[in-house]
């Protein structure tokens, strides 16, 4: 094999290796939300959230299975799926966006990085552009945690809340995202 061939091979293989190195994934991320009104507090947790953060491209995606949200009351969970999210028709919520304020390679150094996230959120079959801020925290062992808090309005995503329960469900629902990424 000549030097030329070696260089050629390296040129072909390296980009793949590099991008692979900068891709962080999680299958058991947490997304929780809470709605609080004087009448009732509602909370739900989902710890089966999948996400990929591709640092080299500055891109992040999430897929959230609606049926995996767990409520304290079984009946709430049933109503959430059946009456509001219509999870048989719309089984997943997703997000695809760009991460700003962080450079490729930053996460290999321990520290906390404030980032901005901008992209398209799809819930209940409706896609909206959203923008929020979050934090990436890399610890010395190489673990990376991403966290992000924002609010959404069910009405923005075509989720109808009948008058009967209007006082029980907040207009702004607080969403909390916590993802432990591993590199792959």
């Amino acid at each position: 094999m000549t030097t030329r061939d070696l260089l050629l091979t390296a040129a072909l293989v390296l980009p793949v290796a590099l991008s692979a190195q900068e891709r962080w994934t999680s299958r058991n991320g947490n997304v929780s939300f809470s709605s609080s009104t004087p009448m009732e507090n509602i909370e739900a947790k989902n710890n089966k959230v999948s996400s990929i953060y591709d640092a080299s491209r500055g891109e992040v995606v999430f897929v959230v299975l609606i049926k995996s949200f767990e409520f304290e009351k079984a009946l709430m969970q049933e109503h959430f799926n059946e009456n509001y999210m219509e999870s048989t028709e719309f089984p997943k919520a997703s997000f695809k966006g760009k991460v700003g304020g962080i450079k490729p390679g930053d996460l290999s150094k321990p520290g906390s990085y404030a980032v901005t996230v901008t992209g398209d959120m799809t819930i209940h079959g409706v896609t909206k552009s959203v923008s929020t801020s979050g934090t990436f925290t890399a610890d010395p062992t190489g673990r990376v945690e991403a966290s992000c808090d924002f609010t959404i309005k069910p009405s923005d995503y075509g989720i109808k809340i009948p008058g009967m329960v209007k006082d029980n469900i907040a207009e702004d629902v607080k969403v909390q995202v916590r993802i432990d990424y591993t590199v792959n």
Partner: protein, 311 residues
Amino acid sequence: MKKYLLAIAFAGTMPALHAQDDLLALLNDSAEVKAYSTASWKSTRVINGHSTENTAHGVLDFRIGHRFGFISDGVSEFFGLDGSTVRLGFDYGITDRLQVGIGRSGYEKTVDGLLKYKLLRQCESGCGMPITLSLVASSSITTLVKDKLPWYEEGRTDYFTHRLSYSWQLLIGRKFSDGFTMQLMPGVVHRNLVRYAEEKNDVINIGIAARYKISKRLALTAEYYYVLPDQLAKPTATELANDPNAGYKNSLAVGIDIETGGHVFQLHFTNSTGMFERAFITETVGSWEKQQIHYGFNISRVFTLHRPKKG
């Protein structure tokens, strides 16, 4: 040079490969998680009989079943609204698949107990089971005082065991779409004591039930129990002379389910008076043709007693 061309061609495909691995598509392909069908019915009862729904783990369901008198009783009885039969019951989910319950009916002052277990669960994604299969076992005991028992005779010993009856049912159900669910319920009712020698102690029956959702909170329901022939007592000649329609009938009920937050209201018409298996499967006397129909309702209210830790 050939090698170079090959390399360039190969390199040319690289961006294409890269673009193809759209991150969202990548996640969507792998995010298939096992999920079972839920909310096939609004309640654990279709109308009189059981549906494939269970009370969830840690949930207590307080149920009031109420049947007015026969509509055929006419204006003097306010078309049945003057009369009433009630069953009060508590059901509890020991796990998401095992439900126990107890009830007390005004009908022959009966106490009943039940156990329902989901053997198979219909799968929605990530697995292949097409049906839900449940087993319902129940027993009932008549607590009437001795001389009020239907089989009471002067000098006859009142054995405790004579007051008992049992029912076993398999519920084979499928949620065909978000709005439409159907189930078949083959079963057997065992009565320790029957009134006539020609009656069978074990009564084989099969039920069929369906629901159709007309909106998110309203659903139409119907159930029919067919008792295989020559198992129940035939009416005697005198009974027939008094009422050509005498004799036991198959149970038919049609209704509407209304869901309001924590309650489910079930409003219906049925020719059955009792609200436990022995009563509505083997002792239905009302005839739909003769308007011997009860207007009735069930109210279900759930309380979360215990919040199971979920993994």
